[in-house]
Structures are given as C-alpha cells and as structure tokens.
Symmetry: D5
Subunit: 96 residues, 10 copies
C-alpha cells in the first residue's frame, strides 16, 4: 500500500555541526536500508529546499507511522502524509 509523504527539515541554527552531521549520517543509513528493502520506494529532493517527496510501500498505517517516527531527523521535521491508490489510467501493476 502506497503513501506519499512530504518532509520538510528545519535543523536549528545553533545545533553543533558535528551533532547535525552525525544525525544526518544515521538518517541516510536508515533511509537507504528501507530503500533496499523496497519499503521506501522513492525519495526526491525538492529543488532549492531542504525538503523531499517520498513514496512508501507499507502494509498498513501503523507500519508507516513507526518508520516515520523512527527517522533520526524526525524531531526536526514536519510531515504531510497522503494515502495513494492505483490510478485507473496507470499502465503499471505495482502501483497499488
């Protein structure tokens, strides 16, 4: 089941650079692990912003929630979640 998520990152200006760097490194590893497992299907940077659009493929709302609150950057993010369905014009079978 697919969900569209917009994530906006707001790292406080006074967070020490090494702390921020360590959190971002963990965020990247966390994201890539989920991408490799086919759960975090897509992630795109929004041009000019510290923000992304992502597509998740999870079995239910609870799995999505657990993944999102587990993000190392979660305390610095605002999220917008939109549930998706297969579009009747889609030619792809795996976009349910």
């Amino acid at each position: 089941m697919l969900f569209h998520v917009r994530m906006d990152v707001h790292i406080p200006l006074d967070l020490p650079a090494d702390v921020a760097g360590e959190i971002k490194a963990r965020e990247k590893a966390y994201s890539q692990d989920l991408q490799r497992r086919g759960i975090w299907r897509h992630i795109w940077r929004i041009a000019g912003e510290y923000a992304n659009y992502s597509i998740f493929d999870v079995k239910d709302n609870a799995e999505l929630h657990d993944i999102l609150i587990g993000l190392p950057l979660f305390p610095y993010m605002s999220m917008t979640v939109t549930p998706l369905c297969r579009h009747p014009s889609s030619i792809r079978d795996d976009e349910t």
Copy 2:
C-alpha cells in the same frame, strides 16, 4: 529531468455525461501513451479525491509545459508543479 505535479480535476456539474466521458477517454489514452514512452513516469490517485500526484521525466520546462497544456482535461484542472533533483540519500541512479 524530473518534475512532481499535483493535478486537481474540477469537472463542472452541468457538463453532459457523454461529453465528460469522451474527454476522459482521450485523457486516458494521452496519459498512457506518455507513460509507455517513459515520460509520464508515475501517476497515483489521491485517496478520496479526484486528484493525482504524477512524476514526469522531460528534457526541459518547455516540454513539461507543452505536455500539461495538451491534456484533454487541462481546462478543468488546477496544477502545482515542483522541480525535483536526485536526493543524496537515494540508492537509485535514474532519479535525477
């Protein structure tokens, strides 16, 4: 080059059903042709709304604009276009 587009469709309540049906059939054919050619990469229905999120892969802004204004449903749509980049955490090479 990728773009994220949200399309909201507002078909007037007094548009005759056969006219609406004919436009929607042309819309579907138009969309599927672009999907087969790899230009309209993804299209997802937003649950509960007559709206979709789509990803386009075009060579420039002009190609995107020509595709969008050519949509048979364009006169009944509002659009929000967001330019995308490859995300530094992405494990995919083709998401530029």
Copy 3:
C-alpha cells in the same frame, strides 16, 4: 485499518428539491449499509455545518477510495482523508 475523513457537502442552490431528496435518500442507505457491516465505524454531524467527521475501517487505501467515490453525494462533496494508527495511550484494542 482506520481513516479519519471530513466531508463537506455543497449542494448547488438550483438543484431541484426532489432530485436532491432522492440523492440524499440513496446516500443514507449507502452509509447505513456500510455502518452495519462495520466499515463506516462512526459518523458525526459537525454542529452548524452541512459536514461530518467519519471513521472508516478498511483493509487498504483502495477500499477506502472506492467507498468514497461511490457515495451518491460525492460530486457535491470535498473530502479530507487522514490515516490513523492506534494511539499508544489508547486503552482499546480495536482502534488500530
């Protein structure tokens, strides 16, 4: 899986009363059938507005979407869908 939906109804002022009445009767029957089957778990009127908050229990996003676009009043409604999870403080087991 639970979803929270806000529905706002905007029936055009020039819709003949008998047409409107017939649509509303079908809407009520449609809603009550889903309530009896445990799918449309709750529906509350918002005081002073032609609008409701509803809770749906469906197996996935697609089932929710099919139910919502099947509403006889759907062409006259705007919808806001929010995916829900069990709250960690909830004492109920069936609110997943």
Copy 4:
C-alpha cells in the same frame, strides 16, 4: 455531549529528556483514567505526526475545557475543538 478535538504536540527541543518523559507518563495516566470513565471516548494517532484526533463525551463546554487545560502536555499543545451532534444517518444511538 460529544466533541471532536485535534491536539498537536510541540515539545521544545531543549526540554530535558527526563522532564519530557515524566510529563508524558502523567499525560498517559491522565488520558487512560478518562478513557476508563467513558469521558475520553476515542483517541487516535495521526500517522506520521505527533498529533491525535480525540472524541470526548462531556456534560458541557465547561467540563471539556477543564479536562483539556488539565492535560500535563497542555502548555505544549495547540487545540482545535469542534462540537458534534448525532448524524441523521447514524445507526448508533449513543453518538449524540
């Protein structure tokens, strides 16, 4: 008498973890006590957000207000309160 409440929690990033933990523990106990007494009828987590939708069953506005300002997390929350009525299509008798 039923009310729909959306609560958004914004805990400051510099609140010490043990202070935050102690407040959340009191919040949970406070909420569960009201749930057991049938006053806080429902609480659902909004997927991907530190926020919930809740339904309260109180005798009047004053009782609702006293409950909400008594929440241990109240100083860190924003609230949206909506009064509800029984929906004419509801099949339930207790949703007044």
Copy 5:
C-alpha cells in the same frame, strides 16, 4: 451553555428581490422569537459586512445545530461555531 457563532450571508445576485425579501422577513421573525426566549442571547452586525456575531444559550450541541439549520437563510450562509465557557475573570454569573 453558550456558543459563539459567526454567520456570513451570501445571497446570490440573481435571487429575485421579492423572494429574498420574504426569506429575510422570516429570518427576522425566527431570530426575534429565539431572542425573546433567551436562547439567541446576542446578535451584532459586523460593520461593513453582511455578517454577524451571535451568542446562543442552548442546552446542548444538538439544540444549537437544530436552531442553525432551521434558519431561513441557512442555505445562503457559512457558519463558524465556537464553544464558550465562563471566563475566570468574569464578574457575571450567567455567562456559563
């Protein structure tokens, strides 16, 4: 129990003047009857707008809803309802 209601009136420009006049006359009678019974406690015109702020004293949400949807101008209005409580600084006993 008190509620604050903002009502904005949008009468269509093409509604015949005599029809509009007849609805407004019924609205006035309806309002004054409720004022005399102490239910519609206050009504003030917002300067420069076809809108009012009103205070209702009702026994519950359902009574408020029934009064509001019974307004002859209801199909031409948008409403915002806010539940009120006695303010701790109020010197009046009847503002609960």
Copy 6:
C-alpha cells in the same frame, strides 16, 4: 459603541511562574475593574484554548486602543478587533 475582540495569550514557556502569576493577577483586577464600569461588557473563555472573545463598550477607537495596550498581558497577546453595530433584527436597545 461596541467592539468585538479576540485575544490569544502566548506566555513564553520560560517565564518564571511567580512573574506569570503576578501578571495574571494584575490582568484579572484590570479586567474586573473595566467590567464593573460597564466598559468591558462581556468576556468568554474559548473552550480548550488560552483565548477569549470579549465585547467592549467605548466612546471611540482611541479609548479601545488605550484599554487594550494597557492590559498587563498585552505583550504576550495577539488581538483581532472588529467594530460592531446594532443588528436590524436585534430586540435589544443597548446593543449599539
């Protein structure tokens, strides 16, 4: 001459409790004095929020402004002021 004012209070989380308490005590005395003199006609708490709706009866805009900026809590408030008139449907003579 009547004015409708919405006041939202935002006391900083780090204001010492005794300072806040002292300001609130002065606020209450200030408000009750104006209520007794018939100038601050009504004050209602908005359920679930640290906010109120108030009605002021003043001789002109300047008197209203002086009262509002004199509020001990003014530096922590945001205000929305709306000028009111007697409503043509009102049965009361003193609501001008």
Copy 7:
C-alpha cells in the same frame, strides 16, 4: 473617528455594460458627495487591481456601516474594515 477600508470590486462578467455603467456613475456621485462633506477623507486606487484603500471619518461604527451598505456597488464588493487611532508619532492633529 477614522476607519481604514479596503474595497475589492467583483462585477459579474455577464452584467450588461449599460447596467454596470449606470451603477458606477451612481457610485462616483455617492463617493464624491461624501468626500466633499469630509466624511470619505481619502480614496486611492490599488495599482493593477479593481480595488481601493479608503479612509473614512465618521462619528461611530453605525454611521460607517450605513455608508458602506449604501454604496451602489456594495452587492459586488468585499470589504475589510480596520479601526484607526492617532499614531503617537503623528505630527497632525486631525488624524484621530
């Protein structure tokens, strides 16, 4: 007593040109009469919009309201009214 008013004019596209012309002529006469009497102190066109900012000098809210609803273009306008006071830095005595 001074008020700041923003007026936005939305004349329907299908209003016959001669009807619109006649209303605008009456509007101009109405406005100029009030300007000559010192009540409508200022009126400025907002560049690029069919809208104006105006300053009124009236004895109270009721006089302002009566003037505004008497505008021949009132049914086609939306209004925003803001009460003004003399600014403590003003060097003018008549801007109360």
Copy 8:
C-alpha cells in the same frame, strides 16, 4: 507617487527596556522629520495592535525602499507595500 505601507512591529520580549526605548525615540524623530518634509504623508495606529498604516509620497521605488530600510525599528518589523494611484472618483488633485 504614493505608496501604502502596513508595518507590524515585533519587539523581542527580552530586549532591554532602555535599548527598546532608545530605538523608539529615534524611530519617532525619523518619522516626524519625514512627515514634516511631506514624504511620510500619513501614519495611523491600528486599534489594538502594535502596527500602523502609512502613506508615503516618494519619487520612485528606490526612495521608498531606502526610507523603509533606514527605519530604526526595521529589523523588528514586517512590511507590506502597495503602490497607489489617483482614484478616478477622487475629488483631490494631490492624491496621485
């Protein structure tokens, strides 16, 4: 050439009173000098808010910008600038 400017002042709560006082004194002198020279034509306090509406008469956009960024309170203000024209209904010649 006239411009309408709305200025909202947000002085931080922790700015020492004497620093704030000194800035406000310079602001007042700066404003009154421009008023005497006919450049800052009008300034009105918005009732209940730490904000003003002002009218400037400058030779071009650059002069307006230089004046506004030169305000001693500029770092604590948000601005909204609207270019004005003489209104065709105005009876005044100097409101261009």
Copy 9:
C-alpha cells in the same frame, strides 16, 4: 522604474472559442507593442499554468495601472503587483 507582476488568467469555460480567440489575439498585439517600446521588459510563462510573471519599466504607478487595466484579458485576470528596486548585488546598471 520596475515592477514585478504575476498575472493569472481565468477564461470562463463557456466563453465562445472565437470570442476568446479574438481577445487573445488583441492581447498578444497589445503585449508585443509594449515589449517593443521597452515598457514590458520581460514576460515568462509559468510552467503548467495559464499564468505569467512579467517585468514592467514605467515612469510611475499610474502608468503601470493604465497599462494593466488596458489589457484585453484584464476582466479575466487576477494580478499581483510588486514594486522592485535595483539590488545592491546586481552587476547591471539598468535594473533600477
């Protein structure tokens, strides 16, 4: 003197195609004449929308207003006008 203008075009769905076509032809001629005279410095289509960003070089607000209300499409447009200045980092002399 430069101004930034955003124009959004909303042609009614029921405007006959030949009428719309004739208006658009006049609009194009009007725009190109002003471009050739150096007044309408730039015009860009916003990708995916029936809208443009334009830069005008005029002698004052009045000239800008007269140009904009003279647009054949003006009755179908909404406008947002922003006055511009030379940026202190600009390397161009003619961008005042």
Copy 10:
C-alpha cells in the same frame, strides 16, 4: 532553462554584526560571479523587504539546486522556485 526564485532572508537578531557582514560579503561575491557567467540572469530587491526576485538560467534542476544550497545565506533563507517557459507572446528569443 529559466527559473524564477523568490528568496526571503531572515537573519537572526542575535547574529554578531561582523559574522553577518562577512556572510553578506561572500553572498555578494558568489552572486556577482554567477551573474557575470550569465547563470544568475536577474536579481531585483523587493521594495521594503529583505527579499529578492531572481531569474536563473541553468541546464537542469540539479544545477539550480546546487547553486541555491551553495548560497552563503542559504541557512537563513526561505525559497520559492517556479519553472519558467518562453511565453508565446514574447518577442525575445533568449527567454526560453
């Protein structure tokens, strides 16, 4: 390929003046270098605001993103990016 960018700068009030000055000097050099290379085609100050409208000419979204996140002031800015196309009424060939 052209993009329209609005940049709003929010430098914290407590950033030391010499730090801010050094960042602004680097920003200016960075901007002028890109202007000289024809990439940052235009930059205009918005009158009365610490904000600019800019036009960029880049080969794709990625180049735009890299330029924007490289701005010395980027951590203190909010951005709005809009992709542009040549307008069919434009008389210029280089505005693609």
